[in-house]
Amino acid sequence: MNLQAHDTGVATPHTSDLDSIVVRFAGDSGDGVQLLGSQFSQETALAGNSLATFPDFPAEIRAPTGTTYGVSAFQINFGSRLIKTAGDQPDVLVALNPAALMVNYKGLRKGGLVILDAGAFKDKDIKRAGFAVDPRLDGTLKEFRVMEIDISTQALEVAKPFGVSQKEALRTKNLWVLGLVSWMYDRELKSTMEYVSRKFGAEDPIGKANLAALNAGHAYGETHELSGDVAPVSMPSVKVEAGTYRLVSGAESLAWGLVAGAQLAGLEMVLASYPITPSSPILHILARLKQFGVTTFQAEDEIAACCAAIGASYGGKLGVTASSGPGIALKTEAIGLAIGTELPLVVVNTQRGGPSTGLPTKTEQSDLFLAVFGRNADAPMPVIASRAPGDCFDVAIEAVRLATKYMTPVMLLSDGYIANAAEPWRIPSMANYAPFNVQFRTDPEGFHPFLRDPKTLARVWAKPGTPGLMHRIGGIERDYNSGNISYDAANHQKMTDTRAAKINNIADDIPEQTVEVGETQGKLAVVGWGSTFGPINRAVFNMRAKGLDVSHIHIRHIWPLPRNLGTLLKSYEKVLVAEMNNGQMLQLLRGQYLVDAKGLLKVSGQPIKIAEVEDAIRSQLASA
């Protein structure tokens, strides 16, 4: 081990009060970095810390080893205070090869700690990563503290006796690192040991080798008496609301929320989907929940998936389809059919970078226009957005509620960051949710398929198999008074108006817009939606602590917008919309309310940083 304490004068102290720390693990996409990160998150959650994670991986499953584009990373921010983002800048970077260092060292906090696998720094690896000379020798890392350990050899030596191949032995290095980092932050290894035993079986040599590597990494920390702020740090648990907690990813809580929504509606669910990154986990999770009255269908394409979900809804079940931008684009015609025939449908859009294939594994919020406006003709539908992994549960329930109550498709916006990230989540109790059971029409008296509830304007839902209610629906315009085909001009006007009014009326059935942090009026409101909640919230909180007059407004119901939002926005001198797109919510708010809002817009595939929001706040408040 070689700990270089560069005395360059730039080394700032560690995080001031150690109430939070950001660790970034990086390596080849085959190094098991995601597993390393998620297990460390699990240990950290069980230790009672607040945390947020950011899995950041390439689209390639196994890119050529040692290349920068094959680098997979996992960032975790954890602490004894409430953590709202995965952190702007890592305090610690674990780089398992030169490419991982190349891609990530510039983001590290000055004075931060770099842990390198010296065993992976052979000349050809260094060249392949794009370093002209060894970055450990030429001052590249002079602003950081560097700890070199030959992790490869350490893992190899400890794993070999179990009779595993050289390749398998080397692959235990992620567990070795986990052992070391767990020692550094005083984490219990128990949950990881259980995980490894469960995955490989107690007697499997690979499992045993991995457990040995885990313990060896931990023991390395202990026996080498690592000093300074590499020495073990104990972080007190965060003060949070009482309850039972777990780690949850956005995909998990969203899938569970759909199940919960279907139960509350008294319906069975048919999820029809086509594989697409980063939406597929929803299909995988629900495919294992058949005992909850869920049927899953992997369709031949995105269009078929949406159509099959519509077919299921027509049959009296809850049709759900989940995809990502390119898939949603393909579904748009079918969504129009659901709007025209007024059938319930939940469309989940886990957004990613675009256009076209874009950045499949990177996050973005650029499908807002697609969600609100992206269909032929006047085809309104409700749109709601989740703000964090755990929040997906309630948002999914709300999507089901709106779809069934108003007989309409609903678009639920999540994103790649929310879907993959994990956070501690206070597990809800289903007893605390009020059911909203669907009432199917059974009475033939006076029946036609477009009879409407006078208040919600929702049409009746009559399912095939019901005697006396045989009827025909379809994509052709329907007569307001009978549901039969109608090409009548006045009728089309009336039906178009009715469809619009039905969706607009939902604004009466959703909460009024509140202010997350700050006042209902003042100099500046920072407006966000979706996964920018965390950085905006923290930034506004920080800036208010410094005495700045700024408030945070977070919009969950994207369409229709809350009734009071326009008035609220106009009570601030300035409005700043922070979002991960080129200004879509910004345009929507300007168009709806004629407010002179400005944008903090970012599409780098990475979440917006707290510091970026803080800078924007300062600059907005500094200018006249």
Partner: protein, 340 residues
């Protein structure tokens, strides 16, 4: 499985909706509609347990004229919507009505998958070899040389063969009928409904406006006996005015050929007996088209296999056998911690 209520026996009229039929006068669709009304009455089905799903095109207006449940959907996607409906409600009788453009052009992908999955849906493909509703463009079944607004110098693309396509998709029930042959159509409808799994019927249908008489070479009364081969399981494939022609297998060319009994030593024993379970012969029969061959009509292939929705339902049932899921329990499984 339909619950048969002890209700009155329904008549063909009971299956006709109150909507005015809006196909062109003389359209072959009228005959098919009438055959369906009668056929459903004969089968004794209940209208509330019957659903017609269609795509877009002239044929796809069919559901509006049925007094059953009906869903007129979007172009090419009826198989996907019908599949979702069947997954949700396996007990319903689902009929899908489509055309050559709807099923083989824009919806070719979905037709392939509904057939290979073997979803228990009765698929009626009205083939008139033209786009009617969009005013007469060439369709994927139009023959080479077909002149149309989109092919003024004649179509140059090679036509799709509906029954050959279906067989290639591993459909387990393939039949062909003609719009005006009501009795035969009725039998095919009944066979299709009885067949568990995807049933595919190509219905030769005359478009009187844009492609009139395109099938006249085998549908005209004068030539029907010579140009139509009605196959029946277990019977020899004999046709012709004199009932002296038949289909035999030529072992040299590995192909079917027309043979005349009493000529060149051909006897009845040389004529193939139709075996609807024989997939290889079904392939040869499906590919036999006029004018070289008579048009093959009837059930060309029928060899049932487990249907998709039944397999899905079996998995769902197996998962539910241990009792319904408990969401509170599910969310608390694995690593959790309590905060006081």
């Amino acid at each position: 499985m339909n619950v048969q209520l002890p209700a009155e026996k329904l008549t063909p009229k009971d299956f006709a909706s109150d909507q005015e039929v809006r196909w062109c006068p003389g359209c072959g669709d009228y005959a098919i509609l009438k055959a369906m009304h009668k056929s459903l009455a004969d089968m004794g089905v209940r209208p509330e347990n019957t659903v017609f799903v269609s795509g877009i095109g002239c044929s796809s207006r069919f559901p509006y004229y049925m007094a059953t449940y009906g869903f007129h959907t979007i172009h090419g996607r009826a198989p996907a919507i019908a599949t979702g409906l069947k997954l949700a409600r396996p007990e319903l009788d689902i009929w899908m009505v489509t055309g050559d453009g709807d099923a083989l052009s824009i919806g070719g992908n979905h037709l392939f998958h509904v057939l290979r999955r073997n979803v228990d849906i009765n698929i009626l493909l009205f083939n008139n070899e033209i786009y009617g509703l969009t005013k007469g463009q060439a369709s994927p079944t139009s023959r080479i040389g077909q002149r149309s607004p989109s092919t003024p110098m004649g179509s140059v693309d090679s036509p799709a063969e509906a029954c050959v396509f279906a067989l290639g998709c591993n459909a387990r029930f393939i039949a062909r009928g003609i719009d005006v042959q009501a009795k035969e159509l009725g039998e095919l409808f009944s066979r299709a409904r009885a067949h568990k799994g995807a049933s595919f019927i190509e219905i030769i249908q005359n478009c009187i406006v844009y492609n009139d008489a395109t099938f006249a070479s085998f549908t005209e009364k004068a030539v029907a006996a010579e140009m139509q081969l009605h196959v029946k399981h277990g019977e020899r494939m004999i046709f012709g005015k004199e009932r002296n022609k038949g289909i035999r297998f030529n072992a040299q060319t590995f192909a079917l050929e027309v043979a005349v009994m009493g000529e060149n030593g051909v006897t009845e024993a040389d004529i193939l007996v139709h075996d609807e379970k024989n997939r290889v012969v079904a392939g040869l029969l499906a590919a036999m088209r006029p004018p070289q061959f008579p048009e093959v009509l009837g059930v060309i292939y029928c060899d049932p296999a487990p249907s998709y929705e039944a397999a899905v339902a079996a998995q769902d049932a197996a998962a539910r056998a241990k009792g319904p899921g408990d969401l509170d329990k599910l969310m608390r499984a694995g690593n959790t911690w309590d905060v006081a």
